[in-house]
Symmetry: D2
Subunit: 350 residues, 4 copies
Amino acid sequence: MGKLKVGVLGATGMVGQIYLRMLDGHPWFEVSAVSGNTTVGRRLAEAYGGRGEVPERLRDLEVLPSDPKRFDVDLVFSCLPTEAARTIEPGFARAGFPVFSDASAHRYQDDVPLMVPEVNPDHLDLIEVQRRRRGWDGFIVTTPNCTTLTFVLPLKPLVDAFGVRHVDVVTMQSISGAGYNGVPSMAILGNVIPYIRGEEEKVSTEPKKILGRLADGRVEPAGFEVDATCTRVPTLVGHLASVSVELGRDFRLEDAVEALSSFEGLPQRLELPTAPRRPIVVMSEPDRPQPRLDAEAGDVRGMPVFVGRLRKGARERTIRFVSLSNNLVRGAAGIAILTAELAHATGRLV
Amino acid sequence: MGKLKVGVLGATGMVGQIYLRMLDGHPWFEVSAVSGNTTVGRRLAEAYGGRGEVPERLRDLEVLPSDPKRFDVDLVFSCLPTEAARTIEPGFARAGFPVFSDASAHRYQDDVPLMVPEVNPDHLDLIEVQRRRRGWDGFIVTTPNCTTLTFVLPLKPLVDAFGVRHVDVVTMQSISGAGYNGVPSMAILGNVIPYIRGEEEKVSTEPKKILGRLADGRVEPAGFEVDATCTRVPTLVGHLASVSVELGRDFRLEDAVEALSSFEGLPQRLELPTAPRRPIVVMSEPDRPQPRLDAEAGDVRGMPVFVGRLRKGARERTIRFVSLSNNLVRGAAGIAILTAELAHATGRLV
Amino acid sequence: MGKLKVGVLGATGMVGQIYLRMLDGHPWFEVSAVSGNTTVGRRLAEAYGGRGEVPERLRDLEVLPSDPKRFDVDLVFSCLPTEAARTIEPGFARAGFPVFSDASAHRYQDDVPLMVPEVNPDHLDLIEVQRRRRGWDGFIVTTPNCTTLTFVLPLKPLVDAFGVRHVDVVTMQSISGAGYNGVPSMAILGNVIPYIRGEEEKVSTEPKKILGRLADGRVEPAGFEVDATCTRVPTLVGHLASVSVELGRDFRLEDAVEALSSFEGLPQRLELPTAPRRPIVVMSEPDRPQPRLDAEAGDVRGMPVFVGRLRKGARERTIRFVSLSNNLVRGAAGIAILTAELAHATGRLV
Amino acid sequence: MGKLKVGVLGATGMVGQIYLRMLDGHPWFEVSAVSGNTTVGRRLAEAYGGRGEVPERLRDLEVLPSDPKRFDVDLVFSCLPTEAARTIEPGFARAGFPVFSDASAHRYQDDVPLMVPEVNPDHLDLIEVQRRRRGWDGFIVTTPNCTTLTFVLPLKPLVDAFGVRHVDVVTMQSISGAGYNGVPSMAILGNVIPYIRGEEEKVSTEPKKILGRLADGRVEPAGFEVDATCTRVPTLVGHLASVSVELGRDFRLEDAVEALSSFEGLPQRLELPTAPRRPIVVMSEPDRPQPRLDAEAGDVRGMPVFVGRLRKGARERTIRFVSLSNNLVRGAAGIAILTAELAHATGRLV
């Protein structure tokens, strides 16, 4: 059987480039169509200008408009900007395409799965609800905000082992999280900006859906609250977070460490191509993880979440740690690919 | 009456330079002796090399060894490294000098005041306890770790108005906090280091002493706990903190804002020369304070603590904010000078 | 006699802000009108948002459109973008206003003076040529590209003392030179970009006009060529240049040092308010000037050009040095103000 | 035939780490002994602490003192500091080891080859002169300063095609060039330092030896002079240089481009394992090469020198360009490995 043909919508941005790299040589998927905005009609290599590398095989691909009629593929990945995603993604889904999207446009809709494959693989069942309700042949599956990823993955084994009552997260996010032109150098060189518009709302809301329980075709949000302070720091790639979690019951620190470091999800058990062997890597060095040293690490580069500085807080039942994820890989392209792999492996791409 | 003559111990480092600048033209104090370590015997201007500017009047001052016999002054400021401070400062105090020290060597001793002049001016009464107990003519007064300052000052009006039960602080500290040679550029360029050796212990301990109650010649520590995560970021000057405080009772946000922005301490009422008109400046812009924009601001440059992003947390009785202080000024030289001014204005330097 | 009333066109950008600061308390000029683009009709303080400080006195000034009918002033400074300057500045000149402009739009026109007040004060005589030829009541006077400044000022005493045959300049320019949004942080963090569009042409052309000889109502360009490589580096303010100059004759290094360090121009002899005592400050430390340490230095902050590392090259008659100027002050607002002061002191603003 | 066993002297620093990575899986060489300074007796993995990764196979290797008696290997690579190299390297050579050294200690001695394998492969003949003169069984071969590399490789085809009369080079060097602790972050963050002690002398002297002619057992230095200004900029890896070369005769730009881009040396013809297919990669994008984008590029990562912005200067016979090399790979570990490969392939390691 041949590979599935995939399209990448919005392929000419920073995340688009990660898709192209990660799908280059992928055992199941093969990029065969890409769309852009300002560069429609040009060769993909030109569309990139000097800002990155395009796999040899794809350099001559024509940049298409984001129009389903122009796409002859089995599924599409979308890293479109929010506004564009709002109309274009449903167009593709209606036209029969499975859409795996990094955009926030549809994340919060009841019948749209918000996926972290290791955390809530069963939420893919919402696909059927969505299709039925909307009468679509295709569907939309979404992935979380890149910052949500940094701590929601480590929350999962804690929820399973001890329960979670409250999460306090302070993030230090890299400039790539805002897109290539998102942060002027005059704003951030030698500086920290203690605010990112709209981010704290996403980061507070999404974990409750992701860790929620699917029953009767809908997700019951998890019962804890998230307080977040999101800041921008002058790092290139990798979102770092200091996290404090009030657990549901008393705990021994070594049990928490064990729960985190031994955690595996369905992607690991299915040995999906883009699944790291360990989704959570616990570091014992006192000063790790660090964005510049660890954001590109891992057996599948950029896919594990690195956790360090595990310790008890002064308040009862509280665990504190620092976690890091690659916002372009685990936080965007990589998680969408992993989600599509999960959908494929569980028979949802037929 | 002439000015008091002051010595600066360890004058040739980064903080020493701030002392020289802040004392240049001071109405009460006049630098007349300085000590260094590797540059003893050289002119002060030479000792600095190209790393900073020395006020014209002091360029030819000879760098002395840190030996009380060589100092003919009314008081000394010390920004010696911890180990040096451990023996040198008591030597000066024993020899009759009032010592105002930024070093951590003596901060935690029962009879040594740990001062934030706006917060605990009465703790200067420990001077008498110290003198009596140790049989010294002089004394040692200390100021807190530069990171403690960032949040302990805003805690004061919250303690007064609502009580405080717990503090969670995540800091983003500038490289100058580690001294000129403290952080190699290879370690921090484009990076965040989520750990600073020894810092979290200081930051957790000091606020309890500073906000403690002095009674019967000893300080009863305040009754809350502090959880801290201290990180290093690539900023030059200014420590930023994201703070979450569980108050003692329910509160209205506007009352907390009012308590912070209207706060004044004894230094303000006494109109001490180095006291900013407002020790806490509340900013209403959503993305402030920022280290590069605000660390050098204020009517007395670098002396106010800037507070922004005031909001309620998801947990009951919890207030969240971001605060910034200049670690070299308010966190080191400035606070020691302000403390000495307070001691002088309250008749303790006679 | 009261102060002259001045308008600032394009007052809401980075350079505009420097104008407001430098004109605050100016002995001859007083800002009484400002224009902006996207913020017309708002108060000046609002127009700035959080990006800078507006002098108290000007906070409530209304931002006007760049329309001469709305300006009741004696002269205008313009830091408009090139395209806007192309039509707006002649409109003001035609309407009778003296226009002092940082923009490149009119710099290269035969009858428009391109001024460095210490270098070519007599070029202001072109004003009369311009008025006659164009039939304007007002006039346009321009100042050079901010990078040209970095080395054209040190060239002047070398031209006078030894003659100059060729200049080779390699620049390391700060991000502020491109405007607040000019350089994305993703492009420059931890990087150098060895190209700035259009810059090398300006830098190669302008010195020949500035150092040219005015005769019979036109400027005969100077007879040397300039080779330039312009690069962008992650510094905030201050353009640094490594310069190699082939002089007209053999020379002793100490004579060149003396020529540079003792240089004064007409602004110094006239003691113009914004003239630094020494326009060229020669530094003897081996590793200076440095952008972060020296760009804001000087008796008139940011106005001197700092020169260091003076030495002979391996080729005959060649002198090498490093120079630094503040691109926002000496390279933009400061030089335009100094030029207007010169025009005023020489009776050209009547 | 088995692999040659190699030792790495000074293996626990930044360059040492590159050796370990580049020799991991090398077809001819196999690391079997390493020395360090402060970490003697520890496991190699521990010696690194968190500052880098050690190939799995080498993690348990014991760190030895730099004593030839402890080394049972066929050759050694040395990245010792200069002072240590001065005595330790001759000790190894005397004891019979071929020593390939990045240190500057012996570079300028008449009978020590200073190698760029693509440029002066015949200089390896000095080995025999050295052995004879010194009575050693082993020998010392050196590689140039990392900055010299950046422009000496592009000089070679220009020398061959047109002759070279003079070179003017202005460098922008990364912080890794000074070692992990070499540049304090307080010195370089948001700054440029226009001076690097001792660097300009090396950069001016070495190209004349490298491009000199070997005859009668000695190197006749090349007949051009090099003027250099060396600066430090806040980049992590990769030294960038702006170069202006006066050629020996008039030239067409396209001929120079062709000479550079088609250049191959003996390592390419011998297909040595660490030789990039093209030692000089000419880039046509106007704003390349850039350190962050290109320092790790190439078919053999970090081994090509990237050249861009090729153009004629204003002076006769002058060509200008920008070049970039990876100071840790092509400028240190990589070039020493390539030199050892060349020695091996030409029968000098028997």
